[in-house]
Every structure is written in C-alpha cells, then in structure tokens.
C-alpha cells in the first residue's frame, strides 16, 4: 500500500454521464434479481455477480484479480425497459421543457436575446456570481413566448406534478360550450338578454352558424370562440392536460441544439440534457452494499441491494408485458412503478412520495440518505471521523497540577501509546518499557521489527522481546509523564477549546486539570467529560507543544487579553491576603508560599510589638511578581493598585488584577515577560491564594444572609410603602387622573410606574439588608472581590426577591383577566402580578413560588433556544470562512484566489497581540525603553546605538565637525 505515489488533483468537473459511458464502465449487465443460489454462490449476472468486486476474504475478484480489501469494486448496469426520469434533475427538466420549443426543440429566444444571455453568463462566471440567476431569467423570458420564434409553433404551459410527472396544459374549447353560451345569452339575474341576431352582429359570425353553435352541432373555431367570449364576457375553454412520457421528453431534449444548451449555462460537451432521462441504470459495486451474515447463518442484504431487486423485478415484468402486447393502461402502470423504484433508489425522502420500506416497516436508506445530513457521508464520515488514540472520561480538579498539565488515569495511559524510534540513545529505555509488558505502567503494547513486522507485547513474551530490541526497531510505549496530548471539551466554540497538555499519569479514573483552565474550556466538575488525543508523530507533537500548549493560549484572540487567570476561591484568597494587608509570622508566611518557587522569605515587613518579625499579605504576594514590574491602575475594589519594582505597595488583589478575563497583572506579565513567566505566575497565584484562603478559613452558611428582626421589619415597611404607592397609582389610573408618559399609552404608563416603584422597593430592601452585612461577610467578600455572585444575589437572599418578569413585563398571563384564580379579575396590584416580597432566606409563599418558577422557566427556554440558534449560526459561519487563508503577501483570499481582505484584519495585526479594548493601546515607547534597557549594559552603549551621541573617532581631528556637517546635509549617496 505504501508504494503509491501521491497524485495532484488538477481539476474536478461535474456533469452528466452518457448512457454509453455507464455501459463502458460496467463490469457486467445485471439481468436477474436473485443474489445467491442454493449453495450460497453468487449467481452470474445477478446482483452479487463476482465481477462486481469481492467482499468475502479469500476470494479473488473476477474483474481485477485482487482480493477483498484491495479490490475497489466495479460497477454493473441494468438496461431499463423504458426511460425514466432522474429525480435529481426534475427542476432542470421542467425548466428546459418550459424554455424550449415543443416542435423544433430550440430555445424560445431570438438570436439577439440568446447572445445577450450568453454574455450575461460569462459576466456572472467572471464575477463569481450564481449563474443560475441568469439562466432562470432566460427561461422566464423564453416562457413568455406564445409561439416559437424559429418554427412558429404554438407553445403550451408545462405543469410539473412532483416528483417526476410533467403535463402539457392546453386551453381547448369546453364540451359544454353551447350551454355556456345559451346561459350567458339569457343574462344573469339583472343582466340583459342577448338575442342570436345581436350576437351574430356583434361577433360578425353568420346567424346560421350561431344557431348551429347554439344547438351544439358546430364547434366554433378559435377566432369565433374568442369573438363570442369577448361579446358575452365568458370563458369557453377548459384545461386539457397531456401527460409527457419520459420517452417523449427524451426525444424532445435530444433535438435541442448544443448552442442553445450552452446559452443556458450547460456544457453540452459534457452534459447533454437527454442524459437526465435514464435508459441505463448503473449498479453500485458490491463493496458499496455489502451483505452481512447473521448469527444464524442467514444472509442479510444491504438496503441498496433490496432496492435494486425491486427495480430488476419491475423491469422484467415491464418487458414481458410489452412483448405480450399488454394494454397501454397496464404498461403505463408498470412504467410508473419502475419510475417509483428508480426514484426511491436514489432518494427515499421525496415529499409527496411514500418512502420505500423494509419488511419491518423501516424506511430504506438509499443513495441520498447515505450522503445527507449529520450522519451522512460528508458530515459524518469525511469532515468528522472516529479516531484511534483517543480517550474520554469525567474531569475533576487538581490544584497541584500546573495549568499546562493534565492528569491521565493509568488505565488510559496504558491504552494510548506513543511510537518510539529505537536508537542507540534510547535503546535502554525501550528495553525497559518492553520488559515491563503491557500491564505494568510504563510498559509497551507493540513493537515493530525493522522488517516491518508488528509483534504484540504480552506478559509472557515481554522479557524475551526486550532482549531483542535493537536500534531500528519501533516500540509503542505507554504514555508517560511529560508526553504531550491534545485535550478538548465540547462544544468546541473557540480555539481554546482544544489545547495541548503535558501528561501526568495518575491513579483512579478521571482526567484531572488545574481549575484555572476551566474558563477557556468552559468546564466545571458537575459531571463534565472531556476528550484526550495522543499524538502519533513527531511533527504533530512539536506543533502541539509550540502552538497549542495551554500557556500559549493565555491571551485570547477574541479580545487580546488573558482568558486564563485566577478564578473563584483564588480571587477570594488574594482579596483576603491583600485587602486589609494582614500580618503573618515566619511560619505562616512560609506556609503561604510553600507551593511556589520561593523558598526564602524576603526581609520582614516589620517587627511587631512582641519583637517578632512579620510579613504583610502584600509583601508575600509581591514575592510572586517579576522584580522589575511597574504598574498603577484603579483596581476592582475602587482603590489604586500600585506596583513598583515588583512590590505591591498599595491596593487589593482581586478580579481585575489577576482574574480570568483581562486581569491587569496577568495580562501585563504575559505581554511583557512572556507566556512562560505568565504560566508560572498564574500557577503560583492560584496556589498562594489557596493557602491564603485556607489560612483564614472561608465558608458561607444561611446565617451569613440572615438580618436582625429590626431590619426585617424595616424592609416590610419599605415594601408596604411601595404597595401603598402602587395602590395610589392604580386609583389615580382608575379615576383617569394618571398622565401618560410621552409615547406611551395610559396602560403602559401605569405598568412602567408600578415596575419602577417596585424595583425601587427591592433596591431599598437590599440597601437595608446590606447595612447589616459587615465587610468580612463571606458573601460580601465574594461580591466585592468579583470571585462569585453580586450584591443583587445578596439582596435577593436577605432583602426581597422582587418583581418576576416574563418577556420583560410583570406576569400577565394565566387565566382570563387575572394571573391565578386566587385573585379578582383585573387586579392590578403588585402581588397579583408576580412581585415577590419575601427573600430567599425567609421563603416564598406558594403563589410567589409559582410566579418565580414562571420567570425561571423563561430563562431556561431562552438559553435552550439561544444555544441551538447560535450553534447553527456558528456552523454556517465556519463553513463560509473555512476556506479563507492568509497568503504570504498578507492578503486574505479564498480558494479561487479572489481577495477577501487586502491585509489580514485590514491592519495585518494579530488580535492576540493587540487588545481590542480602547484603553489597551500598545505603549510603543515603553516597550522600546524596556528593550533598550535590557539590551545594553551601559548608558553609553545605548546612546551609541541610538546615535544620539556619536562616539568620537581618532581617524581625523576634523571627524567630529565633518559628521555634524553630514547631518545637516541630508543628501547622501547611500
């Protein structure tokens, strides 16, 4: 298999196949519907003819001589007894029937019109537009012609009855013309009567003729019919439909000249229109429809084979009947049946046609169904495949891992292998892996000898095999610590959903990951599962390590700031550590820093009253910062964060400082000191924060949200107040005294005012509750630091839950004129429309609970709808963008080389390197200063490089003055 040279595809052409081509590529004609004889051998010229390819191992293909696996299979063909329409082209057939002459088959356009459309097609092709728009317009224009501009024949309407029947519709004289004329001459209820004399005069037809017509003994000619119709204002026609058989259509199409076909954008050389009517049906090779042997020895055939059996049976009956001279009606029935089977063979999900079914009632999966949809050939087998060396299991957190690492269960590590090319340098390792066998952890599962033979490593042969390993062998060893793997969580919505991690082999059954990588994956540990892929060649491993490792993804291309950073308890931890700048003794300080690189404490921050040295929280935190970091900004809590020379002098470290989405310090370290330093910083901040939060102790319970009785009664008062005001509003409304707001009706005004009043009441309740929470309340700490939750959550827990809303309004649905049967009709009060005055702590009343559930349900439905909508949108967007590529000249082009952007992103910059937030401007001067600082040891060297102070030379005493002169004169030869 390896000796095939790679081929380059020059171009691909799509077109129709000529019947003769089907016959030429056919290995055999198929004439019998049977598959196997009684002995189980395939019948010659049957559907399983051995010339169509082999599927049974050991047998030889009668066409190509190869065995199953290497024989690609070969097409056969069925000679159809009568032509049938190809379902895939029904629309095009309809268009051609409508656009060409029924007599001479030429396009119903004058030469000039034809030329114009031909030019339009050329133009469309050049501009990359849809050629169909032009051809549709051409057909539309051709249809307008009543007569053929070439032969003068009258053209009729073509009606298409889905899926595959076409009629010609003619307007002919109705058989009841005499009655209709007589009725019209009688006049309607108020109409005037018309005498035959008057009619004859008006229509200029002989009176005797008129009488003959009225008696029904003479059929008026077309001109006479029109005259009578006009005179009496009636319609004397009826539709006469004439079915077009596939053979008629084929004859019609055969006569269309090539140049007319080309004017419709079809390449006549490759696709003659008559080839859309099948006379020969290709039979797919058996390799495309293998039969399977069931446990009981019975053979079960593929759906396609079943369908082909039906086609052959009907085909035979058709021929027999025709030869026996059966009546036309029977022939037509059989023809339709043949059409049905050929149609469903190609597409079994045609609207208006009952799908062909299996004996069990299951609809058959025919050609179209194999290709279409999510599980179809394209989306299911080509764009997405199942792969080896992949694993999936539940994830759980492990804060001791680096963010670059992933904990891999040992049982997974023993399945996923890496190929080692044995050399002199690693032969000892290779032997050790093999001698461990497949069961013990750093072992091996397979080896490959230099001659290409693959051997399985077993418990029995491992010792023996290990001794034989020499350079030149390949060993498939288990995953070990430090191997690089790809890790992924669905839905993979952005590039950080798939990142490379280094393996740490661990006991138990879950993948372990550091909690700081949860945001990019959007992972939590409530049962989430993730996938792992072991890389199988050196190039892939190198690429993954350089481009995909987690630390390379710290900055998000979405907004150009860090997406990885401290989360949740880390933030609470750094907040507790730095907010009040607490003091720690030596033991405590060392304990805080025990999981970091710091193993020696800095100079103490001071000496306390007992004479013991202490270290402050900010000083401990500063140990993690790069020594020359300088930063000053307004922090999460509103205070100024000041970092000078790597020392946190002032400020609280919380979300905006080290958090996940654009934490200033993390962001700066990543951009200034690089990804590796940022990885170290994030790892250390998270471990320090964990030690800090454990030092202080951090927990939350129901008591933390409970407020004194006095406060509760104050809240009750506020809410009662609000109720009174709502009541006043309603009374004013009922008295008609309420003034409407500009652009609002009175009803809307009332609703808005009530909502306003009630939301103020909720806020007031919250404020009262807040007064009773101290700064060290854990819920307050979390809200203030940005670790989790907000003051609103706290308000709802301690104060009042507040107004429940559906579609942005108070709750109005339910019964007629009221929300629940507990209220009077048209009750506008707060409680009747979903105001929850209780807090989550005090508990909701049943009615409040019900309204709350209504509001909650809306949220759930919204998210469900949003995810499915945005998922589809994303799929469309990705498919549209997937072929765009940035070229070496900086342009972005699609596969046909048309330019999409003249410069990537219209500025040629990477969104990872340039923050998209307005204040995130790149300070070029600061960067230049920093680089110069690190590049040159002395100020003098730097000056020299910058050329601001030229070094004096000893070449000439006049050198200096000459140089100054040169500077003045800009013109120079070089």
């Amino acid at each position: 298999m390896r000796n095939t040279t790679p081929k380059d595809i020059g171009s691909i052409n799509f077109g129709l196949m000529e019947p003769e081509e089907y016959r030429e590529m056919s290995a055999t004609k198929i004439i019998t519907a049977d598959t196997y004889d009684d002995d189980g051998f395939p019948i010659d010229m049957g559907l399983m003819d051995p010339r169509l390819g082999v599927i049974d191992p050991g047998l030889e293909c009668k066409t190509c001589g190869q065995h199953s696996g290497s024989c690609p299979g070969h097409f056969g063909h069925i000679e159809l007894a009568a032509p049938v329409i190809h379902v895939g082209f029904t629309k095009l057939i309809r268009r051609l029937l409508r656009g060409t002459c029924r007599e001479c088959s030429r396009l119903l356009l004058t030469e000039d019109e034809k030329e114009e459309f031909r030019q339009q097609i050329d133009q469309s092709r050049k501009l990359g537009r849809d050629v169909n728009d032009v051809t549709k317009a051409a057909i539309r224009q051709a249809r307008k012609k009543d007569r053929c501009p070439h032969c003068g024949e009258i053209q009729y309407d073509i009606e298409h009855e889905k899926p595959t029947t076409y009629y010609e519709v003619q307007q002919v004289l109705t058989s009841e013309y005499s009655q209709r004329i007589a009725a019209a001459m009688q006049g309607g209820e108020d109409g005037e009567r018309t005498t035959p004399d008057e009619l004859a005069e008006e229509t200029e037809i002989d009176l005797t003729r008129i009488n003959e017509i009225l008696s029904g003994s003479f059929r008026p000619r077309e001109s006479q019919r029109k005259a009578i119709e006009k005179a009496l204002d009636i319609d004397l026609t009826e539709e006469d439909t004439n079915k077009l058989m596939p053979s008629d259509i084929r004859d019609w199409f055969e006569a269309i000249p090539d140049e007319d076909v080309e004017a419709l954008g079809i390449d006549a050389e490759r696709s003659r229109p008559e080839w859309m009517i099948l006379t020969v049906l290709p039979v797919p090779p058996v390799t495309a429809r293998p039969s399977i042997t069931l446990d009981n020895g019975q053979r079960s055939e593929d759906d396609l084979t079943h369908k082909l059996v039906d086609i052959i049976r009907i085909n035979q009956r058709f021929m027999e009947n025709r030869e026996a001279g059966a009546p036309q009606l029977i022939i037509e029935d059989l023809w339709e049946l043949l059409q049905y089977h050929v149609t469903t063979f190609m597409d079994n999900e045609i609207s208006g046609t009952p799908p062909a079914r299996h004996r069990s009632g299951r609809p058959l999966k025919t050609l179209s169904q194999r290709l279409k949809g999510k599980e179809g050939r394209f989306r299911g087998s080509l764009s997405g495949k199942r792969v080896n060396f992949s694993a999936r299991t539940v994830i759980s957190p492990d804060p001791t891992l680096s963010l670059n690492e992933v904990g891999v269960p040992d049982r997974v590590a023993k399945e996923m292998t890496q190929t080692m090319n044995v050399t002199e340098r690693n032969v000892a390792d290779a032997r050790r892996y093999v001698s461990n066998g497949p069961e013990a952890h750093p072992g091996a599962n397979y080896v490959r000898r230099p001659d290409g033979r693959r051997l399985k490593v077993t418990e029995k042969n491992c010792e023996e095999l290990a001794k034989k390993i020499e350079p030149g062998w390949e060993v498939n060893r288990h995953l070990i610590d430090g191997d690089i793997v790809i890790f992924n969580r669905q839905p993979s919505l952005h590039r950080m959903s798939i990142m490379a991690h280094e393996v740490v082999v661990m006991p138990y059954k879950t993948f372990r990951l550091n909690t700081v990588v949860c945001p990019p994956y959007n992972a939590d540990f409530d049962g989430d599962e993730m996938n792992m892929h072991a890389l199988q060649n050196e190039e892939a491993r190198a690429e993954a390590r350089v481009l995909m490792r987690v630390q390379e993804q710290i900055l998000s291309p979405r907004f150009g700031e860090n997406i990885i950073g401290a989360i949740q308890d880390h933030i609470s931890g750094t907040y507790l550590l730095t907010h009040d700048n607490p003091r720690f003794n030596e033991t405590q300080a060392l304990d805080l820093l025990r999981a970091t690189r710091i193993d020696e404490l800095p100079e103490p921050s001071g000496i306390d009253d007992e004479g013991e040295p202490f270290w402050t929280g900010r000083d401990v935190f500063s140990e993690l910062l790069p020594d020359d970091l300088n930063l000053e900004f307004t922090g999460t809590v509103g205070d100024d964060v000041v970092i000078e020379d790597g020392q946190l002098l002032e400020g609280t470290i919380a979300e905006d400082e080290v958090g996940e989405f654009g934490g200033k310090i993390v962001d700066t370290i990543t951009k200034v000191y690089g990804n590796t330093r940022a990885r170290i910083f994030i790892n250390e901040v998270s471990t320090l924060a964990m030690r800090a939060i454990m030092h202080f102790g951090f927990s939350i319970g129901i008591d933390d949200e409970t407020i004194p009785e006095e406060a509760e009664s104050r809240i009750d008062e506020t809410i009662d107040d609000a109720y009174d005001r709502v009541e006043e509003l309603i009374e004013a409304y009922e008295r008609g005294e309420l003034e409407s707001l500009p652009g609002r009706t009175i009803d809307e005004t009332l609703e808005m005012k009530i909502m306003q009043t009630l939301s103020r009441a909720r806020d007031n309740a919250g404020n009262i509750a807040e007064e009773h929470f101290t700064e060290d309340n854990p819920a307050v700490v979390m809200a203030n630091s940005g670790a989790r939750g907000s003051m609103l959550n706290l308000t709802q827990m301690a104060g009042a839950v507040g107004q429940q809303a559906v579609r942005g309004e108070r709750i109005n649905r339910g019964y007629e004129d009221r929300t629940l049967s507990h209220y009077k009709p048209d009750d506008l009060s707060a409680e009747a429309h979903g105001f929850v005055e209780n807090s989550y702590t005090s508990g909701l009343t049943p009615r409040e609970f019900f309204f709350h559930a209504m509001g909650g349900r809306e949220g759930l439905v919204d998210t469900a709808v949003r995810t499915s909508k945005s998922g589809y949108l994303q799929r469309r967007l990705i498919n549209a963008l997937s072929e765009l590529e940035t070229q070496y000249d900086g342009t972005v082009r699609d596969t046909s080389d048309t330019i999409v952007q003249f410069e990537f992103g219209e500025d040629g910059t990477s969104p990872v390197m340039v923050s998209s937030s307005e204040e995130g401007d790149v300070d070029v001067e600061q960067i230049a200063d920093r680089i110069l600082e690190s590049e040159f040891d002395s100020e003098a060297e730097k000056e020299e490089f910058l050329g601001s102070k030229p070094e004096p030379t000893n070449l000439s005493e006049h050198a200096d003055s000459r140089r100054i002169a040169e500077d003045v004169e800009v013109t120079s030869d070089d």
Partner: protein, 75 residues
C-alpha cells in the same frame, strides 16, 4: 436627501485612475473581477462612479492609522 459621504462613519470613497488601478492589480497579481465588489447603488459611492470602475476606500484604523481597500463597482 442625506449625503452619507459627509457622515463621520463613512470612509473616503474615490474612483481609482486607470494607471493606479494597473499598479494595484499588478501588486496583488489579480484580475479586476477578483476584487471585492460594491453595488453601483451604494450610497457611499461618489456620483461619477460607474459600473466597472474600481473604488479606493481609505478607512481610519486604530492599529495602522489607515487601511486601504479596493472594490469593483457592479450592478
């Protein structure tokens, strides 16, 4: 009628001279029809622009000061 070309969010649209156009096409090694398109009816177009003309659009850019783009006028 509002003249959108005077609006601060509408960048400068000018018809490209034939010799400048040739330079552009040569620089990117493309045919005129490989350029992005703009409709003749686009209100941002200058009045003299005709089908087949190429328009130069100069946008302000936060990162590169100015971003230049070319478009072919189509019907």
């Amino acid at each position: 009628m509002v003249d959108v070309s005077q609006h601060e969010l509408v960048p400068e649209h000018t018809v490209l001279e034939e010799d400048e156009l040739e330079d552009v096409l040569a620089e990117y090694d493309i045919d005129r029809t490989d350029l992005p398109k703009i409709k003749r009816t686009d209100p941002a177009l200058p009045d003299e622009a005709e089908i087949g003309d190429v328009i130069e659009i100069v946008r302000d850019s936060r990162t590169t000061d100015q971003a230049v783009v070319y478009r072919l006028v189509v019907d």
